[in-house]
Each structure stands twice: as C-alpha cells, then as structure tokens.
Amino acid sequence: MEWLTLTIDGREVSVPKGSTVLDACRMNNIPIPTLCHAPELTSAGACRLCVVQIEGMRNLPPSCVTQAAQGMKVETQNPKVRSARKTILELLVANHPLDCMTCQKMGDCSLAEYAYEYGVTGEVYHGAKRDLPIDNGNPFILRDPNKCILCGKCIRACSEIQGKSILDFSFRGFDTQVGPAFNLPYNESDCDFCGSCVSVCPVGALVEKKMVGKGRPWEVSKVQTTCPFCGVGCNFDLNVKDGKVIGVTSNPDAPVNGKALCVKGRFGMDMIYSENRVTTPLIRKDGVLVPAEWDEALDLIASKLGEIKNTYGPNSIGALSSAHCTNEENYLMQKFMRAVIGTNNVDHCART
C-alpha cells in the first residue's frame, strides 16, 4: 500500500493513498464535525460542515470529499474555518425547531452536539422556518420533516443499502424536502420499514416510534446480539434500560448486515413482552392446563418419560428440536434424546 504524508494542524501524519482528508483526520483522532457523511454511504459533500483550509486551494474545501495528497498542508481549527462552521450551524439551527428538551434524539443529536461545541446561539438569523406536517401514520417510524437538515443520508441509505429509493429530495432551494413520493406519509408509500433511514439520521427527524419516551441514550446499555427472525443472521444492539429491552438500534460493525436491518429485526422486538408469553410451567389437570412449580413439572416429565421408556422402549419417545433455539440448546436436546432417552428420534421442523 502506498502511503502519503501530509501536515494537519502542524502535525505530520501518514495515511494510505486514496484516503480523504477527513479519513486522514479521523485516523489520527483529529475531530472534524460532519452531518452528511457516513462511511457506509457514498459521500455527498453537501452539509459543508467538515470544511478545512488547505494551502494552495481556493475557498474552504470539504474534507469528506477532498483527496489527501502528498505534502498537503491542512488546517482544521483555525479561526476562519471555525467561523465558517459556526455560520453553517447557525443557518441550520435557524431553520430547526428548538424543542430539544422533549426531543427523542436529545443526547444523540449531532446537530445539538456541534451547536454546543461551536457556541451557536440560534439568534443570528430570523426568518422563514419550515412548517410541514409530522408523519405519524405508521407504527414504526416517526418522521418530523421540520427537524430535517437535508443531509440526504436517509435517501442514500434507502437507495444504496436497501435498494428501494422510497425517499428522495423534492422541490429545491429553501423549499427542499425529503420524503416519499408526493410527500405522502410513509405508510402510503411502498416503504418496507427496514428503518435504514432511521439508523443514519443525525438529528431527530427520523426516530424509532416505539422508543419515544422510553429512555435517553445515556440511560441505555446496548447488547449486541443476533436477530431471531430469519436465516440471514443480522446483528443489532438491544437497547436495555432498567432490565427491560426498549428497542433495537443498528450496530455498524455487524458482520453480515452492517447498519441494514428489516422491519422484523428492527421493530419486532416487542414480541419479547407479548401478552401471549408463557411465564410459568403448566400441567394439565382434569383436562385443563394449570400453573405449576418447576419442580412439579420437571419431576412429572422425568417420571412420565421414564415410565414410557421402560414400558415401550426408548424408540417410543421422540423430540422435535427447534430451529429457533441456540446451537447449544439443540446440541443439548439431541444429546438428551440420544444419551439420556437412548433414541435417535430427534428432528426439527425445517430441515431444508
């Protein structure tokens, strides 16, 4: 691999050829604010927040789409750069609701984070603000177009990750919006609710509806796990607060799927708390299933199976193992049948 050496804020760094200036900064822990950049998506160079000053280049080029070059001299924090970024943030904030206190995204909002860092007041510009209807018509995604900063990541996620292109920009200039065709609500579009758009939104424009009001990012612990809903084996993070799963978020390091998920994986987790869950052992007594203690239930099974085995032989007992359970449990089940009961009568529903 070919390496390039460049100077960033007076520090010499080496990066592989083909890196952008942003890559170079991030590899060396030099902070650059970005809103429209996502490593898994193509770069748009649209938000302009990542601008830097580069010797010999006119204007302030955006680092996310500027290729690093040998000998380049980059400044990421000088007053001119910081002032430009601050102005851009003021512009965004001027057209953004300031209901941060009640916003689901609080604590995880990139705009809020940068606005804070750059001392944005929200009082420099006064004028028109978007006033568009909130899309609340589906059970999964809450879309507030007034909070949208038009970074376009959701559009690219829908197209590049999901291959659907349910979302796109419409109109232009200050009137630009993001939404499904005809700016209809999601549930009147062909949306599959994979939620990829939600997973990349840097602000509170797209949030998981079921998680609203359930917990703040800093109260939540995340547990990576494997999705139980099909054979693809997507990974995601279960969001846990006070011993309760409150939702699912993408884990960008998931080996199979990255940030992509489908509607089941992302929004089907509430089945854990279904009213249909069996939460205590049940034993049929007088034809009716009634609650029982574990000891009673397990002893009953042990004695019944022992009895049948003794009377009719081990091959009169069978088991259906589960394509939903873990490998370890399946192993235990077949070991139980083969070693404890003494039969090969073990199968599971879908062998194909």
Binding site: K164, S165, F169, S170, R172, A181, F182, N183, S189
Partner: protein, 162 residues
C-alpha cells in the same frame, strides 16, 4: 381513480399517446426528462397516476421522479388555467418596473405566483427571462408577448382573455 385501474380495459387515447412516448425514449440513455416533457404535452400537467405509470414502465422509483418533477420549473403537478400568464422578471424587466407589473396582476387576479384563479381562467407564473429585454417590462399570455408595459395597461390586456 385515475388510470391505475387494471380491471377494465377502457382505452384512453391519452394513455396510448403516453405509451408511445415511453416506448420512443425507453431505451435511450436518461429517458426520464424527455418522457416527462412528452407526458406533460399530452396531459397538460403530470397527474400522479401518470408519474406512477412512467415509474413502472422505466423502472425509476416514484420518489425519484417526484423529486425531478418538483425540481424543474417546467413541470406541473396541477392542471394549468385556460390562459397562462408568464411575467418576465429578468433583470432588464426588473429595472424597468417588472415588480410593479407582478404586483398589479396579483392584485387584479387575487392569486400569487404559480397559482390558478378559482374559475380556471388564468394561471400565473413569474419567470426569469422571456428574452424580449428590449421591450421590458414584458409579459406573455399564451405565448403572445405584451411589451413596454405599465401597471395601468394591465386590466385592459387581461380583459382580452376569456
């Protein structure tokens, strides 16, 4: 219901024309804008069912087409009135009082830029330049140019169009 119905085979002559346009451009590189232009010629505007039909025919997502349609000034999502007024607000027209012409017409017709009067008589569009800068300020109604205007001439000109 529009043209999305598949149950009855009512043959709509506009639909046939639209399909001809689609087939003409379908295999070109970048067929979308010429097809939309053709469709607008046929329908006078771009109804939702036409956009959906085009989407299916050339496999471009509806949202993307909607994005294109709303991006370009030429495309309309609503029918145009019987008479289309284009008010030029090119620089030459502006410095020669174009804004006053806009104001006068808006007051006269009680509609804003881009709207159509309730009776469907006029649609008003402010455009960047007709290219008749020598005659500034100018408007065109149904492509007929009226130049060297002043606010007091407006009422008389509009009266000529039913």
């Amino acid at each position: 219901m529009g043209g999305a119905c598949c149950c009855e085979n009512l043959v709509d002559p506009k639909q046939i024309e639209l399909d001809e346009i689609i087939n003409k451009h379908k295999y070109d590189n970048g067929p979308l804008i010429p097809i939309l232009q053709g469709a607008q010629e046929v329908y006078g505007y771009l109804p939702a069912h036409v956009i959906k039909h085009i989407s299916k025919a050339i496999r471009i997502p509806v949202a993307r087409i909607y994005g294109v349609v709303t991006f370009y000034a030429q495309f309309r999502l609503t029918p145009v009135g019987r008479n289309l007024i284009n008010i030029c607000l090119g620089t030459a027209c502006h410095v020669r009082g174009g804004a006053k012409i806009v104001e006068t017409i808006e007051k006269e017709l009680k509609i804003k830029d881009g709207a159509t009067t309730e009776d469907g008589r006029f649609t008003l569009e402010v455009i960047a330049c007709i290219g008749a800068c020598g005659l500034a300020p100018v408007i065109s109604i149904n492509n007929e140019v009226h130049g060297r205007l002043s606010p007091d001439k407006i009422a008389g000109i509009l009266a000529k169009y039913e």
